[in-house]
Every structure is written in C-alpha cells, then in structure tokens.
Amino acid sequence: MTVLQVDANSAYLSWTAAALLEQGYPVDIRTVPAVIAGNPKNRHGIILAKSIPAGKLGIGTGVSLFEARRKCPELLVFPPNFDLYLGCSDAMYEILKEYSPLIERYSVDECFLDHRTCAGHPASPVETAYEIKERIKAELGFTVNVGVGRNKLLSKMACELEKPDKVHCLLTDEDIRDKMWPLDVRELFMVGRATTRRLGKINIRTIGGLAKTDPLLLKAMFKSHGTLIWEYANGIDNGRIIPNDQIVQKGIGNSMTIKYDLLDPQEARSYLLSLTERVGGRLRHHRCKASLVVVSVCTGSFIRYTHQLKLPFFTSDTTTIYRYACRLLSESWKGEPIRQLGVRVGEFVRDDEYQLTVFDVETIEKDEALNDAVDQIRSRFGSEAIYRGVFANSDLNPIEGGVNGGNFLMMGGFRQ
C-alpha cells in the first residue's frame, strides 16, 4: 500500500493570500508577517494561521492576537473567510479525485489518497505526488506539501518534514531511519505536550529513541497509547483510508465561547437550547439516536468541567436532549461566570433499529414528526426559517455552535 497525503501549506493564510492577490492586493501576505485571526471583540482573538515569516518571529497558531501584536507590531491581520476555505478545499479535492477514487478528507486542508487505486495513472507514487503538487500550484494558486508513505502515518509524517511546496517520501526502512528517527519525539503524530514531558523523564527525546524502547515498558507507562506510539515510531500503522461518508461518528457535540461571562441561569439555558438545536439537527441528519448527554462548561477563570448522564432510552428529540442538558447544567453549575458552554451526545444507535418504550410511543412519534418537519423547513428555506419563540426579539442566534454556521469541514473530515 502506498499512501499520498496532500496538505495545504498554512492553509487559511495561503488561501486568503491567493484570493487577495486575485483582487489586486499589492503584497503576497505569505511573504510578510501576517496572520488569520478571529475577532477579539467576540473573544475569538486567537491566531488561526500564520505566514512563515510570522512563524519565524515566534508567533504560533493558537496564541492570542494581543500577544502576537506585541511580538510584531506591524503584523497584518485578516479575518477568516470560511466559505473561501471550503471552496479552496473542494477545488483541491476535485483535482485529487482525478487521481484516485479512494480519498479521505482528513480535514479541510488535508487529504489521504490511496495510490493503488490510481488506475488511470500508472506513474510511480513520487511522480504522481510531484504532478499533484505542481497542478495545485498552477491551477489553484497555493502550495501544498505531499507526503508519500507506506501507510497513512508515514505519509503524514513525510508531509510534515519540510515546508512549503515540497514532496517527501517515507517508503523504506532506511527512509524511516534517516528522516524520521532523528526528529524530536514531539513531532510524532499522537505525541503531545504531556506525553513528551513524560517521555523526557525516561530520557526518550527522539522518535528513534522511542522506536528502540521496549514496547512493554511503554505499555506499562502509557497503557494502550504506549503501544500505539511505539508502533508509530516504527512506522507501523494499519489504518485504512476511509471515504468520509463511511466514517463512523461516536459522538456529536457543539460548543461556543460567549462574548461576555454568563451569570444568569435563564440566559445560560437559552444558550444551551440554541446549541442543542444544532446538535439535535446533526444527530437526526446522521440518522442516529443517542443515549448519552454531556454538558461542558468553561468558566471565566478557564476551569473546565463536564457532567454527563446516561439515558435509559434513545432519543434524537431536541426538546428531550435540552431538558436533560438543563438538568445536567443545574446539577453541576455553581453560579460561577461561564465563558464557554457545550452540549454533546453519544452512544448512538441507528434510528431505524432502536428499542421503543411502552409508555410514550405516541409522544415519540409526534416529536419525531415535528422534528422532521422542522428539519425539512430548515434544509429548504435556511436554518433560521423556523425557530423557537424564546429566541424571538432576542440578540441570541436560534442555532449556535459550529464553524461558519455549521457549514465547514472539521478535523476528522465531517461537517459540523
């Protein structure tokens, strides 16, 4: 199996740059310190993407705009345009579809494709990789990195090696030894800050060091995650390329950061309802029913907690989920200022094979019919064509959560 991973270089920024150049913007923002950041007034002021010159000044993705401006006062800041990004991602996907029918859109800017299925293209994987890279640059106006590997993990690691506009291969054991093993262990997929710290304590600092460690020691330290990262360090990954419509989702959730700190329980419940509207809609769209409801809270002092409840039945009804979410909130919330609220559902069954309860068959059928009608109206006339009375004449959106009003491709390749 040979897998190609295509990853757009500083995606949001280079897509914005390509669109700006088309509109006659005088500079290519990829060549100067520039960032894409949310609006600080709505408390979304963090860096979403940075140009390579901005990265060199120590501005990282996820830091606050305030901090970035302190490091570089002449920093150019642009707001995100998610419709543009989705358009760029779709255009990139259209080009990739010409090479292989088996593609996994891993996120808005990353795709895996299986080279075995590139029937019409008998060229070697590396030739195909170069062709894809050059075509995207010429036709779409932004650069990509292409990683060629024996499996998904190696193609992803290859993709991250050196940026921008490069093709890298991790196909043989020598490649893994020479290119991947000298890297810092933090660079390995699935090794984060906490794992790096713990590995540092047993003197593992490079991927090679991790690969040569006894897997039993890692399993004792990190449980199954230890085995996973040991396999990854040795270039072992049996993950298949799964087309996005076959990805099984285990949970659906939405959250939102509120412009100000919430203190009023009634208002908190309204936000919870607008989030539940989104979650319920997505749940029904997936033709699932859930039996687990989770409410998550982030307080003004950045303390996060969640509270969950396993239901004795399965439901996809917005009102029912909302009722339980309210109960969870009132049980867990002690009145501290809320910065971020979230609702999540899990433990699904397909909506055509669930266990009915004897007592409320009629109400379930009525609720289903109502939800169906609401969903149909929303899909035909827009998500705000019909909404609950509580939201009338209020500043609150009747449906909250999700990037770009729910119309965006998220990490893992599903839509919110």
């Binding site: 897509w15 390509a18 669109a19 150049l21 088309e22 509109q23 006659g24 543009l84 358009g87 760029c88 991602s89 779709d90 255009a91 990139m92 036709e139 779409l140 106006g141 932004f142």
Partner: protein, 87 residues
C-alpha cells in the same frame, strides 16, 4: 497590465450551452466619469479556479478614447458578477 479587480455593469450574451460572452460594459474612471466600452474583439477566454473561485477570464480588445486597448474581464461564476480584471 495591472490587476484592477473593479466591478462593472455588463451586457453579455449567453449561449445555449450557458457560456457567457461579454458584449458591452460600463465603468467609472478615476474622475468619476462613466465610460461605456463595446468589446470589439475577444482574443481568448480561460476558465480558472484560482483560490477555488470558479471564473472565466476574457482577454479583450476595444477602442477607448480613440486608443486601441487590451484588457481582461472576469466573470465570477459563483457570484454571477463581472469585473474589469486587468487593464
């Protein structure tokens, strides 16, 4: 030619297959004067997808103020909008 990217009023014809052909457009110059330009000749038409935006760029030739000028017009398909792209 320099990128102008200025929206213009346009009269265009659409073929049975849906392909647009610009005929005449109107724009405001720097002094606010409205100028109408009839397209005398279309030299080339290219479909493009830069930054994922579907567009057709026409290289055209017209006589403006008794000077023969070459310029580019752009039709942005998704927005059904015309622009004086380069002049």
């Amino acid at each position: 030619m320099k990128i102008v990217a200025k929206p213009v009023d346009m009269i265009a014809t659409f073929s049975v297959q849906g392909k647009p052909t610009p005929y005449k457009f109107r724009y405001e110059d720097r002094s606010g004067r409205r100028i109408e330009v009839r397209i005398d000749k279309i030299i080339s038409a290219d479909s493009r997808k830069l930054a994922g935006i579907d567009s057709i760029v026409y290289t055209c030739q017209s006589e403006i103020d008794q000077t023969l000028r070459i310029f580019e017009l752009k039709y942005i398909v998704g927005q059904c909008r015309w622009e004086l792209y380069k002049a």
